[in-house]
Symmetry: C2
Amino acid sequence: MGGMTFVDIRDRYGITQLVFNQETDAALCERANHLGREWVIQVEGVVAERSNPNKNIPTGAIELLVETLTVLNASEVPPFTIEDETDGGDELRMKYRYLDLRRNAVRKNMELRHRLVMLVRQYLDQQQFLEVETPILIGSTPEGARDFVVPSRMNPGEFYALPQSPQLFKQLLMVAGFDRYFQIAKCFRDEDLRADRQPEFTQIDCEMSFVEQNDVLEIFEGLVKYVFKTIKGLDMTEAFPRMTWAEAMRLYGSDKPDIRFGMLLNELKSCTEEGLFTVFDSSEYIGAICVPAAATYTRKQLDELTEFVKRPQIGAKGMVYVKCEADGSFKSSVDKFYTGQQLASWAEVCQAKPGDLLLILSGETHKTRKALCELRLEMGHRLGLRPKDQFAALWVVDFPMFEWDETVERFFAMHHPFTSPKPEDIALLDVDPGKVRANAYDMVINGVELGGGSIRIFDRKLQAKAFEVMGFTAEKAEAQFGFLMSAFQYGAPPHGGLAFGLDRFVSLLAGLDSIRDCIAFPKNNSGRDVMCDAPSTIDPAQLDELNITLKPIK
Amino acid sequence: MGGMTFVDIRDRYGITQLVFNQETDAALCERANHLGREWVIQVEGVVAERSNPNKNIPTGAIELLVETLTVLNASEVPPFTIEDETDGGDELRMKYRYLDLRRNAVRKNMELRHRLVMLVRQYLDQQQFLEVETPILIGSTPEGARDFVVPSRMNPGEFYALPQSPQLFKQLLMVAGFDRYFQIAKCFRDEDLRADRQPEFTQIDCEMSFVEQNDVLEIFEGLVKYVFKTIKGLDMTEAFPRMTWAEAMRLYGSDKPDIRFGMLLNELKSCTEEGLFTVFDSSEYIGAICVPAAATYTRKQLDELTEFVKRPQIGAKGMVYVKCEADGSFKSSVDKFYTGQQLASWAEVCQAKPGDLLLILSGETHKTRKALCELRLEMGHRLGLRPKDQFAALWVVDFPMFEWDETVERFFAMHHPFTSPKPEDIALLDVDPGKVRANAYDMVINGVELGGGSIRIFDRKLQAKAFEVMGFTAEKAEAQFGFLMSAFQYGAPPHGGLAFGLDRFVSLLAGLDSIRDCIAFPKNNSGRDVMCDAPSTIDPAQLDELNITLKPIK
């Protein structure tokens, strides 16, 4: 540009324009012309007002008229462009994560993560919570997901486990009288991975003594409101709705409903006359959502939706639609089975208005509700009812205490084995454990389970009873959780708590699709760090010291 | 006590006296008489001023006249008394750590730890440091201490390692342009244990870009001063002294000198005439400390000190003393070899005054200095010169870059392999690596190495050179640290950092003898958690999934 050379210099805080003037110092300008992308330089000069300010960047009003230039480090041409919209694929960006992290879009997420944990600590500290570090090398507990284990050199044949959560330790801290505990805790699960799962993840882990469910909900609702106010400038003045698990399943087909929009599930079984349509006759459940102003959907669009619900992840066998035409008539894929009047009665149940579209699925209750939930979310997405900058939070409460596992034919704890039943349901433990509701709660925002917790059992006998329902012998319970049961004998206070997924919390605030984007050095779906090439083989001498050998790989 | 029953109720915040009045409510009073130690109760009543206030406790001015009493949980009699001075032995207290943590003395340490990390985060946040979590499941790096490893189920035959520190990741964050990073980071070392070592420990881990050594020292000196000011009310207004490693070794026989007191090491080799005393003649080094006003030490006391230095941990062969008598004469264990005048010349070198005592050790320089250091610390202790409430901090700088390892006959990095040499010593890398000084520094307080760090190499070629000196082939360097070397090619800024041992920091502030007392759930010297009984055996099916087998134990 005539006698000038312009160079953008970038640091963590932004981009500033450097100006080298051919007339003032030709040699310096010549050197500037040979600078390359991503070089690290040091400059001195005079800050001046730009004649053509760049209003898109904070430092766009000024430029630096450079007087001295030192090259601190040169750079090869990077394997992808360091820009918000990069040309680098996922694998390449992960291999060179240290370059990917230079991108504004990624760095912003890390800054947000830092800010969030600072705020969380500040809030909890003010509420008298103590941060206590619990150990990473702990004992293995078979109940729950698969543990990562660590062979002990000093105790041959024995293994530590990495914690899936600090659950037992935080309960012991309550027994220790710590009253209010928190920790930003690393947790580990050796599970197969997907976009929102990593082998290691971080929890905002909390526990309180002398509380009932409402105390916990109020403290942590306060935390979430404080975070949204401070980071997003959002005033969440209303109390978060509290919805029972049963209601969430009935109205949304999900225990983590996205309540940014309506389009609730309606049950049609009672108003679909028997003997007309065999598919409906053989269905335990028939449910419909009413999509506003979508009666104009074409055959092609409806076929697309049918394909959507028939995908194996969703698993519906088919979809029935009813168009509530603007003229008050009805057009449906089951026209030949039902009269207009019958269809009208369905529309009435769904509170459909002329111009709306009913989408109907049928089958086994639980599965069909889940499929309808997916369809509802998809329609919400298509209709733009799920904007990322709008946040709708609620508490889901009264979860079932146990789930029956068909495969091993026993009850498992839905939350975890230390969750207390609702006092009014304790009597059901003996007669109908599947009906027992737990003092457990989840916080859900925009359809994401941000966290959850429960009031815990603090009575040795009740804990023993719970283990019994889950099919533990007294010996097995003692072997696995003896120290907790023993602790309950020495004056354990009533206690309860909650854990938020930090990775999810950041993703939600940043509007990310994958938690990977808010983790500095994530693993890929095979659990590999492709940058460091970990895991890797280790020296046979080390295996020897650890008293283990590798099995030949088949 | 007449018609009254008094009960002390304890929570995290203190002890309050409850009063049950026989006259007001006899039944309630009767129930209070049956409460046991460590029971968990809930009471309601009226707060009243105590007629006999207890000035030793914050709530000693009031009492609660109880109107209702609910027993929330009873308690067995605890296996030891929950008091500052408990009757429980170490093993018992660890087994019931949840009861041990109820003791005021232990809980206070956890509260201090919480407060310290809050302050550290606050300070670093204000200085624009970003807290970034680095992974716990990383690749194994053979250079350094022994790694804990984690078999990977998804990558059979391969292992993750647990980090000994986030070193490589924090350097990569600097390459990523993060400018200022910190993390309160869990670190792991599979080493044999002792009082100040745990298999997992916590570091305040920091790194900065575009800095020189002085920038790092100033920031972290500021942090330490801020902590001492806030927690201890101490104004450390003076700049911390900076002492070279060579000077510290010469004057204190240690790279972590306790400078709360003098009693420096004096070198006597040049003033001990040859041919008089064979032990001195054959010694490379002869050093003395001058113990003030200790010439009155008895034979027995001196014999005791001789035994002290001859212990295997210290390893001196014997000790020579010179009493500088009040009358100006000298009395020494080497009287028969040296004249009074010769002894006087030693006393002069040591700046001894009449009434002082010289203690002299001789032998190989490094070993003898270390032994003298131990003797100096012991004498400082005996003379009450090391009070726990007095704090003397300094920086030790200019560490040697390499140490020669006799066993494997190669140089190792004294700090770590990424430490940069002092620019003026780079030329020595080729000709005399043992003489190269590093841009490395330690902060030492009261003889404890609180932390340390270095300015790092950020140039690929210099890093390759350093690896070469340490006997790495180019292939081995590439295999182990290739991703770091590669990162240096893409515009790495100059950077450096530091890590403080959090456990040590808390111990120092709390005046503890063992870091265990500031860790909620520590391991014993065999790496066991005796409360949870971890590590433990795991299910053979799990070993199978992990593709490993146990070797039969010999």
